[in-house]
Point group: C2
Chain length 326, copies 2
């Protein structure tokens, strides 16, 4: 995909500095911890979040990226990694990006504690920014991420099917992290309050698009299975496409399947039928529409900026999020 090189090229030097910091910091004399860190690093994540921090920092910083921005980028990547490690415990997932999750490769104990260690390492990095607003931002983010996951957990047994609750959850569990990346980048570059808020909002729209796209993937036929996995429904979650279909066509049987999904009682057959119903009632198209709306709002925020390669990289980032394929 062309987008990735559009995103990376303008911050190549900064990504090298980032990786050097990563390598020199994430070391431990504790053999078990060193083992876990090596396991996580094998994943070779796409570093989408630190790239976002660096892009915004460079855009707001007249081409300069301070160490403050670098430490913030590292902190946010670690916070994200820590929350994935804990989420896999919470969701009892055995896989993460095609390799064993930490709980599966080791056990729940090791996963909980290494998640805590990564979280604390994130905070050490935050303290190295020596920037009180970034500190405040990232600690509040930690609360929102945990709160969002707990909200989602509580909502599993909540019979109400509401788009409002859906957006509240995805804003907290996903968009808040993207918004923190763009805000931290702007803060680190010493941007004006107005610019900081504009960048924060850009990150939030971007993050909402990211999660809606992720949720749409769950309705797409899985290559191995030949049909959608319906994983979210298996975990008791009804996402935007199904919420729309059920509201738009309040079919009695479909509503019963939905209740059973939320109670964690739905059979594979019922899940397959509810997925098909959602697709037939235009749930996917509706979710795409909402995502495209958010993308347009995000683009509007970028319009007044000078049209250099950093702006183009942010536009490409948004296109990547919205257009990426499974």
């Amino acid at each position: 995909m062309e987008y990735v090189s559009l995103i990376k090229t303008p911050i190549e030097a900064e990504l090298s500095r980032f990786n050097a910091l990563f390598d020199s910091t994430l070391q431990s004399s504790n053999p078990l911890l060193a083992h876990v860190i090596a396991h996580i690093r094998q994943r070779n994540g796409k570093q989408m979040r630190p790239m976002l921090v660096l892009l915004v920092a460079k855009l707001c910083g007249q081409g300069q990226v301070s160490d403050t921005a670098l430490h913030a980028a590292f902190a946010l990547e670690l916070l994200h990694t820590a929350s994935l490690v804990h989420d896999d415990v919470v969701d009892e997932s055995a896989q993460r990006r095609g390799q064993l999750s930490v709980n599966a490769a080791f056990n729940n104990k090791v996963a909980v504690l290494s998640g805590d260690y990564l979280l604390s390492t994130a905070l050490v990095q935050v303290s190295l920014t020596r920037h009180l607003d970034i500190f405040k931002l990232i600690s509040v983010l930690g609360q929102e991420l945990a709160d969002g996951e707990l909200l989602q957990l509580a909502n599993v047994s909540n019979p109400t099917l509401s788009e409002e609750v859906y957006f509240d959850i995805i804003r907290k569990k996903t968009a808040s992290l993207f918004a923190a990346c763009t805000k931290a980048g702007a803060l680190a570059a010493g941007a004006s309050d107005e610019m900081v808020e504009k960048m924060r909002l850009f990150g939030e729209y971007l993050g909402l698009c990211f999660q809606i796209k992720d949720d749409i993937f769950d309705y797409a036929p899985n290559a191995a299975l030949g049909k959608p996995t319906g994983n979210d429904m298996r975990e008791g979650k009804l996402t935007l496409p199904a919420l729309y279909a059920l509201r738009h066509t309040p079919d009695e049987t479909a509503l019963q399947w939905a209740s059973r999904v939320k109670e964690g009682e739905a059979s594979s057959d019922e899940i397959d039928r509810l997925v098909t119903f959602t697709r037939e009632q235009g749930g996917i198209e509706y979710a795409i529409c909402r995502m495209e709306d958010l993308r347009r709002q995000a683009l509007t925020l970028l319009e007044p900026l000078p049209g250099d390669d950093l702006k183009q990289a942010l536009v490409a980032y948004l296109s990547y999020v919205v257009e990426r394929e499974l």
Copy 2:
């Protein structure tokens, strides 16, 4: 016990301010989270750690306790609570101070996420101190606590029986938190570098005494059982009394029981015998000796201070830690 009132009296006003902060901060509109918080608050912990912060802050601050000290005290209490919630998941404990643990009352998922939420709330409090050295201190502490628990976990399957490893673990998993309390109190009061270091060391000695005492409790007859529970051994842990007895009297059979404890293979009978062996070989007396040594070192640090009620409170705190009964 008289000690508790000696500790509390000089900081009564500050404890009221602390409790008001606690009540106004720990609220959530998320019903599940609110439920967990209410459950944790029922425990009514003894607030030993915040009291320590407030005592040292007042001692170093000529009778004044700043909001910075208060936020640091709250942050450290929350960090401690968060790590207990996660430890109960890790140790699969169903009880905590006579009531159900969060994992038992709710489930592991809720416990992992609420621990994360409490940890993040701790960091929001740290950011309110607006004190970069306190940031650094508390984020490094988070790393040490997780590292200490992971070290202990890794050590369960380590066949070596070494006092050095034992002290390394308890320094990280317990004493580091006490040392952070005393150091944060001194930092918040703007104490000299020398005084900050002296207070940190006092906290470290105190914390080592605390853990040794806790470990000795495991060899004391349990009221309900009429014999020691040997819980640590059941979890694969050999603590100071057993380590001494095994080194002092390297009895072949006892060493075999010890290996089986570390492999998690020991029967209840073998654990009972190893507990009895430890008691007979003077393991308890040795641990008490080491603890009293540390207490003396801690007292030496206090000697040069003026002999007012705050100094007396710290002496009483140390006596409470060393002399408390199960």
